[in-house]
Symmetry: C2
Subunit: 336 residues, 2 copies
Amino acid sequence: MTSIEDVAVATGVSTATVSRALRGLAGVSEGTRARVLSAAQELGYVPSSAASGLASGRTMAMGVLLPSIERWYFSAVLEGVDRQLRAAGYDLIVFSLGGRGANRERVFHRSILRKRIDALLVMCMELTEEEHRSLRELESPTVVVGGSVQGVRHVGIDDRVAVRDAVEHLISLGHTKIGHVRGSGSDGLYFEVPRIREESFLETMASRGLPVRSEWCVFGDFRFNESKHAVTQMLSTVAERPTALFCSSDEMAFGALTAATELRIRVPEELSVIGIDDHEFAEPMGLTTVRQVPEEQGAFAADLLLGELEGRTPLQCPPTQPHTLVERASTGPAPS
Amino acid sequence: MTSIEDVAVATGVSTATVSRALRGLAGVSEGTRARVLSAAQELGYVPSSAASGLASGRTMAMGVLLPSIERWYFSAVLEGVDRQLRAAGYDLIVFSLGGRGANRERVFHRSILRKRIDALLVMCMELTEEEHRSLRELESPTVVVGGSVQGVRHVGIDDRVAVRDAVEHLISLGHTKIGHVRGSGSDGLYFEVPRIREESFLETMASRGLPVRSEWCVFGDFRFNESKHAVTQMLSTVAERPTALFCSSDEMAFGALTAATELRIRVPEELSVIGIDDHEFAEPMGLTTVRQVPEEQGAFAADLLLGELEGRTPLQCPPTQPHTLVERASTGPAPS
DNA sequence: CTGAAAGCGCTAACAT
DNA sequence: ATGTTAGCGCTTTCAG
């Protein structure tokens, strides 16, 4: 590998000057900079991140800790994070717990703390007190994306209001018999979001004086398949059917939609379905939903962290991210 | 930060011994090792990856270069890669081109080559000759996952055969009027797979003496929405409809399914639909498809690379990954 | 089995 | 504007 030394020799300057020139620092004459640049180019020189990281204390990499990569929300956030990071010349290191929390300790110690990252973005999970302390000692700025977590600032929509908007949309269409398809965090990894969504559903119903029937509330595990089964089961056994279903995520709403189709229950004439997310499939499936844009959330969070790494003053309370009701064909007036 | 020096002092041994003890190398008495371990534990010592990377030349990180994170196949592969890496104590660095190939040069030089990774897994895209050379100089083992690429070994299914299996399944059901929903790589990032799938469709049809009608072949861009529109358009304008549709991916098959539903075309009575992938939604949507398991492919590729990093002899031709036809409700006998 | 010492390749004062 | 000089924290010969 060609090192900074080689470039220095080739240009006839010191390594310090090469370093300065390459990083665009002030205090290098234009002539020298040009010669350094071309020599570096010529030699195919690429600085070693390990060496510069060791010397400068900055790794130019950011970590993202998440429960799993594959879920729509997570990969979308990742996409947004990556976009900003790439633009800023930072690398993205992914720490996935792969659905299980078991190896979490190892992830944290063997990876995150190894001075490999300058900042950490945590997706929808709580850090233990000890993990927090470790990060504070490392002085790595941290932010949570997606689910509010006590004591840590977070970037995300206001789930409470988003749910209320969804449910009130149903109510405004005349629905009173409203069921709920809820999720939960696998292994308690991101339990906050499903909980808040359920609470808000109950609150909104209560505030409108509408009863909630427990047989209309089923568990869809944030998944299409689970939701489809649960909803099928519910719709085909219950004495009286709900006229609308609020689903805590679009994927579960897809399940509800599919269940309805298979049971020959017309949507929205007999059953309205609303979700949350605006998943890529929501539009083609005609699903009414509350849109959130995870990619933007990820980008926002990444920018926030990036800003702090560049010395901007820490933002203690990032602004709430926007959500919007998107009306499509899956909701309609309650049957009379 | 507590350094190896601190641990050495606390234990009363040299840093060299601490290093050996912590890494489990031979030549350290059990007593010493135990004392070192407990001191390290006590002090909360975590080795710096930059320092050890610089000194040893191994970063304990692997890179994954992909066109975008969010597409199902990519994130699923990533999940598999991460699983194996995590188990081996390696970190995962993600280089996403974010759909556009523009910043590719920068990604490569500013990131990949910066001695930040020990090996590179490339997803579905070709490396330029120069990129290859760079990696060879770095001596980083490389492998491509998902689409065969000339001159580089790759891990993936045999797309040609997979497509043939799908199409022959339709033919065996008596279909002769078969259409195709094809994809393509965005910006030529992963053009190989869609091309092979299309070719194989044509070949299979030809080999059975079946004509291919160009008006039945539409472009779905590997997406639900595009596919739905294209299929809707096609089915509602064509003089005679096909009785079956082979879709180059499940997501496009979902689009076809949805299009059919909206047009009140019964599946599979009037139209059979088959995809490729076995996407998470395929089962609940009742889609017949050819299953591939990207997570396993990613894990396999990661293992392959990991093995070489540990000195196992390079595998020039990784075995073809398996695919299986999964029959569900979306395919049935051709209408008579 | 353990220690001393020489770097790995770069950055960051401090000089000039 | 540029060079000198120390390290950054670890690994790795080479001795003992």
